[in-house]
Symmetry: C2
Subunit: 345 residues, 2 copies
DNA sequence: CTGTTAGCGCGTTCAA
DNA sequence: TTGAACGCGCTAACAG
């Protein structure tokens, strides 16, 4: 059984030609019912399965998409991946997955590897420090479409899916402002991320529209490491203007900031109210979760990204030139942790 | 640039044969230095890259391994995957990843898809309810080696890497017994999992060797859902013999059990001391983590599994028959959460 | 309705 | 040191 049956083998045994067998198996209209039956019968007996390697080689497509993510251990990304996996499974696409671990160098290596593998298309959430996009631009020459999601480059000629972090931040800010907070700190992410820029804009707009003065010293940025967050938090706490609320780049940053604050005997969500992004499920079990977190719909983002990519791949087949870039932006929404049964502190 | 350069193209431009080009690029000894240089020069100019689809088709190998896991959102599995990814990247293998989401049906589908894709080998951690292993057995006929890790079937003719959960449980039990606990409950996992059976054995051995009577009513099993765990926990709490310690199948089960207990005003790690398995990093931020958790070394398991698979794939090439099954068992070790700075309750 | 032929890109004999 | 020929398994254009 080691040597799998081939179309030629079936053809020989049946004393017909390989192409007839091929057509029979594909239910081609011009094949006689009798022949079809015979072919299928034998194919079944021999346990025939098409050699996809041969087909893909011949068709010049791999029916494979590459997915590049920063970190699977972050629940946002594992959820997004699940969506991509499910969607592409339905379309009979397989997935090559690579983690950049937030390194631009690794990201480039993965892109190279995927290009060499001739993936049909790519779905990407960029590393936190990626500032140069040549490795993606280069793919255009090879006709490999790229769809970005969530962590998207701040350039215009790309396809993407993301969440509107500006309006999201506005929602978070309005909630805090309505609760009476006036001195609101922010630990933002790396400045090159579009999502960071949007958070900043949202922050500024909220302050100005209230209207309050925008104090730039209240907005710091973390490199998303524990140390980076602690440094930012330390700086914020040492300001003369004492913050009564803090917006953190995401739930992981919030966790680090909260722990840092607790170690300094700050009462979480009393002395300082915390709000963050990404609404990870684990927050439910966490000692002191932020009061609220902006839901960013990882599953939906993954689904949409796959959808767009599939569209692009179909267009490619029909040879019509790509006219425009697909851009989808979801509205995030503020999720409160009221469901928590356990109150701590 | 859409049409990539081929070996034939280079050959034509250089007025030599394709095979010469092929050999030149492979640094074959029998090619003249001059020809080699010319070929490489032009290959560089044309941005030639070998068409891996063609090569793999011709070599009858895909240089791809399939990885099947229950859930990427569990940190144990995302860590293990990272290891597999890193290791196989170094060996120039790509990875098809599929999540079973703990469904036996989905698992079978993925195996089918991977077989159709002709992966060279498979690394698998089985779904919690998988009791029938035919879909893996069947792969032997196709000469596709499978290496299991962590969640392994309880059958003998397989390759695997796992942690010794019997001795691990012994360690956990001895810790509890030394601390004075006599009535120790256990919420185990599904009984078909070998790891569950090992936990049970460890539990019994610890009790008997102490010596104490083994009370079967103290050991329940959860289907690993929140509801399943709560049901088990409810049953344990309603026993006449009141437990003072509990061993949970893993940190997620522990989280659910702990929350259930808190809702009933049980003081965690005072009224009941919790110990669990898998030592997930997030426990650090958790409201009431178990006192200790057995480290199961996901990264090492992933590494070892890949190593074994690579060995098998090399052997396959050299046509020597597989004589024995590779089995690696790591010793787990009890990790205490003393590093936690935050004490709750 | 079916067979013949050709070719996808590459590596690998065998011959020169 | 090089070239010609072949085949991997399949599909598709062309020819009956």
């Amino acid at each position: 059984m080691k040597n799998l049956a081939t179309i030629t083998e079936i053809a020989q045994k049946l004393q017909i030609s390989a192409s007839t067998v091929s057509r029979a198996l594909h239910d081609h209209h011009s094949i006689g019912l009798r022949t079809k039956m015979r072919v299928r019968q034998l194919a079944g007996e021999l346990n025939y399965e098409p050699n996809q390697a041969a087909i893909r080689f011949q068709q010049r497509r791999t029916a494979t998409i590459g997915v590049i993510l920063p970190e699977l251990s972050e629940s946002f990304f594992s959820a997004a991946f699940s969506a991509i996996e499910d969607s592409s499974f339905n379309c009979n696409y397989s997935i090559f997955l690579g983690q950049s671990h937030d390194s631009e160098v690794k990201e480039k290596q993965i892109v190279e590897a995927m290009k060499a593998r001739r993936v049909d298309g790519l779905i990407v959430s960029i590393a936190k420090n990626t500032t140069n996009y040549d490795h993606f631009e280069m793919l255009k020459k090879y006709d490999i479409p790229v769809v970005f999601f969530d962590r998207i480059p701040n350039i215009s000629d790309i396809h993407y899916v993301n969440c509107n972090m500006e309006s999201g931040t506005l929602k978070a800010m309005n909630f805090l402002l309505k609760s009476g907070h006036r001195i609101i700190g922010m630990i933002n992410g790396p400045e090159n991320l579009f999502a960071s820029q949007q958070r900043m804009e949202g922050y500024i707009k909220a302050m100005k529209s209230h209207p309050l003065k925008f104090d730039p010293s209240l907005v710091l940025s973390s490199d998303l490491t524990k140390e980076g967050t602690e440094k930012a938090m330390g700086q914020l706490l040492s300001l003369k203007r004492k913050i009564t609320a803090l917006i953190a780049f995401n739930d992981y940053v919030a966790l680090d900031a909260i722990q840092f604050a607790r170690e300094r005997n700050i009462r979480i969500n009393e002395d300082i109210t915390f709000v963050s992004y990404s609404n990870m499920p684990m927050s439910y079990h966490t000692a002191c979760p932020p009061v609220a977190s902006l839901e960013q719909f990882p599953y939906q983002q993954g689904e949409k990204a796959t959808e767009i990519l599939m569209e692009l791949l179909n267009k490619k087949e029909s040879e019509s030139p790509i006219v425009s870039y697909k851009k989808i932006t979801l509205e995030s929404h503020l999720a409160f942790h009221k469901s928590r049964l356990i109150t701590t502190v």
